[in-house]
């Protein structure tokens, strides 16, 4: 297992380098002179030139990239153009909020998705199965930002059960987590259903039935355990879109997380902030994928991932 993790860590090094390269190139893609943009409107020629030298923008691109990488490794993601504060400081304030939102959303994705999937698979083609699958299909099709607004309208404005926006208490977490987790839950439900139906057809389940085991023992001990393997992969993949989805959900519910920070930074053209935010979110995603791969191996020892 230890060797496997080391091997996977080595494999993600080129991916991380690639991600830093893309994030670095964002700056190069900005039309016009980067130094002029960074200096802001109305800056004097001298200031622009000074900035160009300070940031090494007068050097060849490969040198700029190398110095960017060495800064990133040292935890220097540059300074915000808005308030000149280090980007990393801002990210360290925002990231825990986004991770908390992501955690509760993935919890909803897994719990709701599994329950719905099992209900469907236990009585295939029954009304409960069809009902769950229709809801799941709707869950995949509803834009999260619309679902968020609808939930906010019903539960915060009309019923006044939950707060409209913000991130101060447990009550604030409920609606954003449901909004963000719903789409994933729908996908997990569909995956659990098809995976369980496949497992239920296997010989060992028939044997278990023939032995006279109770239905719940068959479902939970035999079928679900084996059906979970592909579901774990789906949950892992969902984490990516979930992390991307925080951008929208944080904007709907006015949550000061990493996603909202990136969107605000794009609006104000605070490019170092965008670069830092995108880089950190992607690194989190890469490491979560590593975690999922490791869990996959723990759950399914038959598969040799090496």
């Amino acid at each position: 297992m230890f060797l496997f993790i080391i091997k996977r860590l080595l494999q993600i090094v080129p991916v991380i380098l690639g991600v830093t390269l893309v994030v670095f190139l964002i700056m190069q893609m900005v039309p016009g002179d980067s130094a002029v943009i960074l200096a802001g409107e109305g800056a004097s020629k001298e200031t622009v030139e000074q900035l160009r030298v300070d940031l090494g923008l007068n050097k060849p691109m490969h040198e700029q990239y190398i110095s960017y990488i060495s800064n990133v490794v040292q935890g220097d993601l540059g300074n915000s153009l808005k308030n000149n504060q280090p980007v990393l400081d801002e990210i360290l304030i925002r990231l825990p909020i986004t991770m908390e939102l992501a955690f509760f959303s993935i919890l909803i994705t897994v719990v709701l998705g599994l329950i719905a999937g099992i209900i469907s698979a236990v009585r295939p083609y029954s009304y409960s199965d069809i009902g769950v699958m229709v809801v799941a299909l709707l869950g995949i099709s509803l834009p999260s930002f619309w679902l968020g607004i609808l939930l906010m309208y019903v539960f915060s404005i009309k019923l006044q059960w939950l707060p409209v926006a913000g991130w101060d208490s447990t009550a604030h977490i409920i609606l954003p987590a449901i909004t963000l987790g719903a789409g994933g839950a729908a996908i997990v439900a569909r995956m659990t259903r098809s995976s369980m139906l496949e497992v239920v057809g296997q010989d060992y389940i028939r044997t278990a039935k023939a032995k006279g085991l109770a239905e719940h023992v068959i479902i939970y001990k035999h079928a679900l355990r084996n059906a979970l393997i592909p579901v774990i992969t789906v949950v892992g993949l969902q984490f990516g879109s979930l992390l991307g989805g925080t951008v929208l959900v944080e904007s709907v519910f006015a949550i000061n997380g990493l996603g909202r920070m990136i969107v605000d930074a794009i609006r104000t053209r605070d490019i170092p902030m965008v670069q830092g935010g995108v880089l950190v979110a992607s690194l989190v995603f890469v490491f979560v994928n590593l975690l999922v791969d490791t869990m996959y191996r723990v759950f399914n020892k038959r598969i040799d991932l090496n």
Partner: protein, 300 residues
Amino acid sequence: MTVNTSLVNTVDLVLARKKIRREKRRLFFSTLGQNKAAVVGGIIILFYISLTFLAPILAPYDPYAINLQDKLQFPSWTHWMGTDDKGRDILSRILYGSRLSLGVGFSSVFFGAFFGIILGLVAGYYGKWVDTIISRSLDVMLAFPGILLALAIISALGPSLINVTIAVGVFSIPLFARIVRGSTMEIKQLEYIDAIRTLGANDFTIIFRHIFPNILSPIIVQGSLRLATAILSAAGLSFLGLGAQPPSPEWGAMLSSGRDFLFSAPYMAIFPGLMISVLVLGFNLFGDGLRDALDPRMKK
């Protein structure tokens, strides 16, 4: 005599091929037709496409005409979906907005498919270092969670609907490329490709005339399902204010401005969202049905 026999054989072969193609087409449409969900999805998509053409005829008002006297009116017989904060008729705006949402969806998927197919064909056909470089680059693109790559691109290019199309398109490239790469690798090992190569065909002919037509099925299925994601992503980016700019009647942008009036005029946010959801549902239903009809191996 020999010439005549070979001519007859060729004619027979051509006729037989035509017959097979006809039979395949019949089978495809009958499988697709039997799938109720796919039929419903297809009808929804056709309905939306017809809206894009009929918008000028169906729209009761000018979608851009500001009429502050009639602002924030609830749905009524004069304004079926009500009016927005500037007194514009929401129904008319939604009808015209269908052109933008569908337009962005189709163009971005076309963009992603075009580059994804070329990259996938080249990686799958040539293999070795070419494949390694392309595949590793695709891995990097896939390492960006969700729409974050699209956001990064927009941050550089600036907010606009065209840039959203490019950004969502780029974000679709790796998905097409991966599918095409896998299918290409499978097909290039088949005997008929060896036979064509022995006959002297060059790589370009083999890739585009003999491999590409045989991997269309997974591409079409992916394209249809991808349209759903592309429309959602583009609407999401416009919702964030990074895509279509006011006064454009793009549905995501309309939803975004409706959010500010959730207390007094909730319908301003409800109708655009409903339009996006039903369209995405249509593509999801149709995509699932297409997958079952075109590629039984991919059937869930």
